[in-house]
Every structure is written in structure tokens, then in C-alpha cells.
């Protein structure tokens, strides 16, 4: 097949004589690899406004709600009961905003693939990279890197602004105290893992609205259903819920919830990572099998 590159001629006259040098230089090696797919996915992620908005929303919600929560704790401190004061966890309180930031990260994870189905670009993507699992793997790597960076930034800012908002009444936390650094770092990891779970769900569901609904269902509706169950069952099930894992991750001391039922922080995040990987694995399997 000739690839003389004559198509490079100007628009009105595409039949001009072929220039001497090829239009596209020889490829570097034997076959297209993973590196190019990674670069491509990063280009796609950073060149749409929804990414910017989701990142901004994640940080603003996590930090802003954290400031509200700590500010309220400070202003009501003198009216609090003794038990409330004794169990008060300044770290966990400053990270309250993660509960809302996780929604923005989830939307970003969903859009990373559902927007391709919504706009039809998935066909161009999969025609360019017929090894489809590479597309999903690259999406997951690029998204995880961004979400982890954003998650950590949001978590640390929320921690420091939150402590500043606590004022003179309630006790403050410092990163050097037992469990505090783990809680703040864990908060960022929690966000990234939830985002990956959202990406996995969206790969299975393929529609933006459906995937966001499923994600919100897992986070907020599942706990409600569990609460309707008998207490003995709740204790066994609670610790597997993503939202519960999040609450335990950011806690530095036993709170009002039944922490005795919980996994330790890193084990809990490991369970969450398991969910994300499972969703991504099902997504990868379907992506390979289904027509695009």
C-alpha cells in the first residue's frame, strides 16, 4: 500500500503531486503500546472543562464543608454535653467535607468514560486502540493519579483550615498526634478509590445519569437500607459499606458509631480498593465483549 502522503496538499487540490518525505514518520517500534494510550487519556482528561469544574468542586466542597463543620463545633462548644466534648474528634470533624467532595470526584470518574459513550468518541478511541483493556487501564491510571493528587490536596487543606476554624474552645489536632496523619492521608486515598469505583461502575453502565445514580446509591442509599436491618446484621454488614469505611478512615478515636465493628483504616481502604478493582474488572470484561 502506498502511503506517499499526497493528502497533505492544501484543501482545494488534494491531488497534488506527492511530496518526497512521508506524511507520517515511521513508528518507533513494532506495535503501538501502552505509553501512547496513557498520553492520549491524559490529553482527553485535561482538555475538557468538566474536569476543571469537578476538581474545583472537590476541593471547594471538601474544604468549605469542613470549615462550616468545625466553625459550628467551635460556636456550640460551651453548650455541648460532657460526653460530646470527651469524644470530640477534631481531625474527623475537619474532614467532614469529604462526604460531599466524594460526589464531585465520583462525577469526574463517571464522566471519564461515560462522556465518550455520550458523544460517540468511544468509537474513535477503540478504533485507534483495538486492545480495549489498554484503554480502560490507561483511563484508570491517569484518573487515579489526578484523583489522588486532588484528594490529598483537598484533605490536607481541609484539615489545616478546619483546625484554624476550631478557635479557642475545642481541642485541636496536629499531624504529629497518633492517627492524625494517617486519617488525613487516608482521606485523600479514600476519595481516589471512590473515584475509581465510579469509573468502574460507569464502564459497566455506559450512561452518565445511570452511572451517577448507581454511585450515589452505593454511597447513600445502601447505608439507609442497612439501617433498616436488625442491629446484629448491621454490625456485620456496616464495615463493608464505602461510606462507613470513609468515616472510620478519617476518625482518630472511637466515635459515636460502632467503631468496634470496623476494619482498621488501611484494611478498610483495601476493601474499598477491592470494590474499585472488581468494578473495573467487570467493566474491562464487558468492554472487550460488547459492541462499541
Amino acid at each position: 500500500m502506498t502511503t506517499t502522503g499526497g493528502v497533505r496538499s492544501p484543501a482545494p487540490d488534494p491531488v497534488a503531486p506527492a511530496p518526497p518525505r512521508p506524511a507520517v514518520p515511521e513508528p518507533p517500534g513494532g506495535a503501538a503500546g501502552f505509553g501512547g494510550v496513557l498520553r492520549s487519556e491524559w490529553t482527553k482528561l485535561r482538555t475538557v472543562r468538566s474536569t476543571t469544574w469537578s476538581v474545583v468542586a472537590t476541593v471547594v466542597l471538601t474544604v468549605g464543608i469542613g470549615m462550616l463543620a468545625t466553625g459550628m463545633a467551635a460556636s456550640h462548644w460551651s453548650h455541648r454535653s460532657l460526653i460530646d466534648r470527651l469524644t470530640f474528634d477534631p481531625t474527623s470533624r475537619s474532614l467532614t467535607g469529604l462526604l460531599f467532595g466524594q460526589l464531585a470526584v465520583g462525577v469526574l470518574g463517571v464522566l471519564a468514560i461515560s462522556a465518550e459513550y455520550g458523544t460517540g468518541t468511544i468509537r474513535a478511541t477503540l478504533a485507534a486502540v483495538p486492545h480495549r483493556h489498554r484503554v480502560l487501564a490507561a483511563k484508570a491510571v491517569v484518573f487515579a493519579a489526578l484523583a489522588a493528587a486532588v484528594g490529598e490536596v483537598a484533605s490536607f487543606i481541609a484539615f489545616f483550615t478546619g483546625q484554624a476554624m476550631l478557635g479557642s474552645g475545642p481541642p485541636h489536632a496536629a499531624l504529629g498526634q497518633p492517627g492524625v496523619l494517617r486519617a488525613v492521608v487516608g482521606g485523600g486515598v479514600y476519595l481516589a478509590l471512590l473515584g475509581l469505583l465510579a469509573l468502574g461502575i460507569a464502564t459497566v453502565v455506559r450512561h452518565t445519569a445511570g452511572a451517577i445514580s448507581a454511585f450515589v446509591g452505593v454511597l447513600f442509599v445502601l447505608p439507609l437500607i442497612v439501617q433498616a436491618l436488625p442491629t446484629s446484621v448491621q454490625d456485620a454488614v456496616d464495615r463493608y459499606l464505602p461510606a462507613f469505611i470513609g468515616a472510620v478512615t478519617t476518625a482518630t478515636r472511637p466515635g459515636a458509631h460502632r467503631v468496634f465493628a470496623a476494619f482498621p483504616t488501611w484494611a478498610g481502604l483495601g476493601v474499598l480498593a477491592g470494590y474499585a478493582l472488581a468494578a473495573l474488572a467487570v467493566g474491562a470484561w464487558l468492554l472487550q465483549r460488547r459492541d462499541a
Binding site: 506517499t4 499526497g6 490529553t43 478504533a127
Partner: protein, 313 residues
């Protein structure tokens, strides 16, 4: 070279492609012609590995698409108009595609120039007209300077100048020795663009022929005849092997015999002719005739039930 062998694709109850075999050789424009819903787009998706056939196979240059080491450098495809993220610029859309196949950024600017989008390359694609979206799709197909090109209804949404531009482009690509497959449901368009035709109806091959042959055998050969003694003339014409159809206004349309032959025959029988003229059997008519039994969605002319043929919907 594209080789399809016994392709079958079902979507639930619908058999979109039904045992389709054809070849698309390099060096000429092959028109892929069929009415709406006949399976053109489905076939093209199977060629580039997006849809998996239920039976049969298709290869590009002797290999299944999914096994090509650098897909975009070997096959370029325009599949859908405006399959672009509305928030992403034309340039970034192409850059993302180019990166997957190690195609340099310089080439992105070249194809944008080629399709006439250089000036709007950094604008959000959501602001593009249908025609601009189509040009961006063509740019994406040309990105890897591939030897095989697929275009699904490339002139959709283009103005007359744009249509002529696409026509010239396709011919130029074929003249360079590339394999060019272009789908359309308009025979008149294909007559101007294509050298060869693969005609399908209801997912089945109806004809595989050169455009010249198609035109020669399907148009221009008909004559309109009007005569006060038409009832005597028709049987005589039929015995010469011609086919005769009433034209609806008292005249008849004769196929398989040219004007002089009809005139001579009438004279030899002493029959007066009141009209003897070439009938304009358009290519479109020929195409409709060819695919008549296979059309998926018939239009119904108001007040005339079953105009579309067998009345199946």
C-alpha cells in the same frame, strides 16, 4: 484491500448484515451503496473491529483489524458525523487520537490545514456546524496517512462546494493507490465519485459491479413511445426481447430496444408513431429498482397505499 467473507450481524431479532461477502481493491473508489437500514454502517463498524460479527470475517490487508500493530497508520475511518466531545477543541481531539499511534503533532496541524479547519482548530467542537464536524471526522481518518480509508456518508451535511471537495479528495486518495470505501444511499452521488460499486439491500449483496457497467445496463436504454396503435406495437416489441411498461399517460416505456429499432419496427408494420424519445431512467430509478425487494423502510405516498412496493414495513 478489504475482504469480507460471509459477514453476519444480528441485533436481537434484527439481522442487520446477512452473509455479506465482497472485496474492496486498492487504487479505486468503491461505493458502498444501499438504502437506509441496509447494513452499511454496521458493516463498516465490523471492518474496524468495533462490532464483532456473529459469523464470517473481514480482513484489512489480509489481517483482522484488531491484530494491526498501528491501526491508525493502516486504516482511517469516518464513521459518524460529529462524534466529538463538544467541550474539546478540534486540535485536542486529534492530538488524543494521534498519541495512541505515535503520530507527531505536526501531522495534526497538517490534516487540519488539509480539511480547512486550521482557523478554528482551537475552538470548542460543540460550536461546529454539521459540515465542520464532518471535516473533522475526515481529518481524523487521514491522521495516520493510512493506505485504507472508510468513509460512512462523508458528504452528509456538506454544502455543494464541500461535496465537490470530498469527491476530489476521495479520487485523489484512490489515485495514490489507496483502498477507498465510501458509503452512500444516493446513487447519483456514487455515479460521480465511485469507480466501482458494492450494492447491498437488507444486509445482503445485491450487486458488485463497475459504475460504468451499472450505468450502461441500467440507464439510457429506455425509450418513450406513443402511438394510436400501441396495442398492436407492444406484442411486436415483446417478441424482439424488449420489455414494455405503461408510463401512465398513455405512452409506454420500452427497455431493451433503442429508438431506431423501435422506429424501424413500427415502420415495417405500418404503425404510426406520435412520440419516440429517450426516456430518462435515472440512476436513482435503477438503484431503486435493484433494491426494491430489499428496502427496509418504505415511505408511503399520501393517498396511494403500498406505493413503496410490497407494502412491508
Amino acid at each position: 484491500m478489504i475482504e469480507a467473507r460471509g459477514l453476519v450481524k444480528r441485533y436481537g431479532q434484527v439481522t442487520a448484515v446477512d452473509g455479506l461477502s465482497f472485496d474492496v481493491p486498492p487504487g479505486r473508489v468503491t461505493g458502498f451503496l444501499g438504502p437506509n437500514g441496509s447494513g452499511k454502517s454496521t458493516t463498516m463498524r465490523m471492518i474496524v473491529g468495533l462490532d464483532a460479527p456473529d459469523a464470517g470475517s473481514v480482513t484489512v490487508g489480509g489481517r483482522p483489524y484488531r491484530s494491526l500493530p498501528w491501526p491508525l497508520r493502516e486504516v482511517g475511518a469516518l464513521l459518524e458525523a460529529k462524534a466529538i466531545h463538544p467541550g474539546r477543541s478540534a486540535r485536542n481531539h486529534l492530538v488524543a487520537l494521534a498519541q495512541t499511534n505515535a503520530i507527531p503533532g505536526r501531522r495534526v496541524d497538517e490534516v487540519l490545514e488539509l480539511v480547512g479547519l486550521a482557523a478554528v482548530a482551537r475552538r470548542r467542537a460543540g460550536t461546529f456546524s454539521l459540515g465542520m464536524g464532518q471535516r473533522l471526522g475526515i481529518a481524523a481518518a487521514l491522521l495516520g496517512d493510512p493506505g485504507v480509508l472508510l468513509f460512512d456518508e462523508p458528504v452528509n451535511g456538506l454544502d455543494p462546494e464541500g461535496i465537490r471537495w470530498v469527491r476530489t479528495l476521495l479520487k485523489g486518495l484512490a489515485a495514490e493507490g489507496r483502498t477507498v470505501l465510501v458509503s452512500s444511499h444516493l446513487m447519483s452521488e456514487m455515479a460521480l465519485t465511485a469507480d466501482h460499486l458494492v450494492v447491498i439491500g437488507r444486509g445482503r449483496l445485491v450487486a458488485q459491479t463497475s459504475v460504468e457497467e451499472f450505468i450502461a445496463s441500467h440507464s439510457g436504454r429506455a425509450v418513450r413511445v406513443r402511438s394510436p396503435r400501441i396495442a398492436d406495437l407492444v406484442p411486436a416489441l415483446v417478441t424482439t426481447g424488449a420489455t414494455v411498461e405503461p408510463a401512465g399517460d398513455g405512452a409506454v416505456v420500452v427497455r431493451g430496444a433503442d429508438g431506431p429499432a423501435v422506429g424501424d419496427l413500427a415502420a415495417s408494420l405500418g404503425i404510426a408513431l406520435h412520440e419516440l424519445s429517450p426516456a430518462s431512467t435515472s440512476l436513482e430509478d435503477a438503484f431503486m429498482e435493484l433494491t426494491a425487494g430489499t428496502v427496509e423502510y418504505h415511505g408511503e405516498v399520501a393517498g396511494v397505499p403500498g406505493t413503496g412496493g410490497d407494502g412491508q414495513r
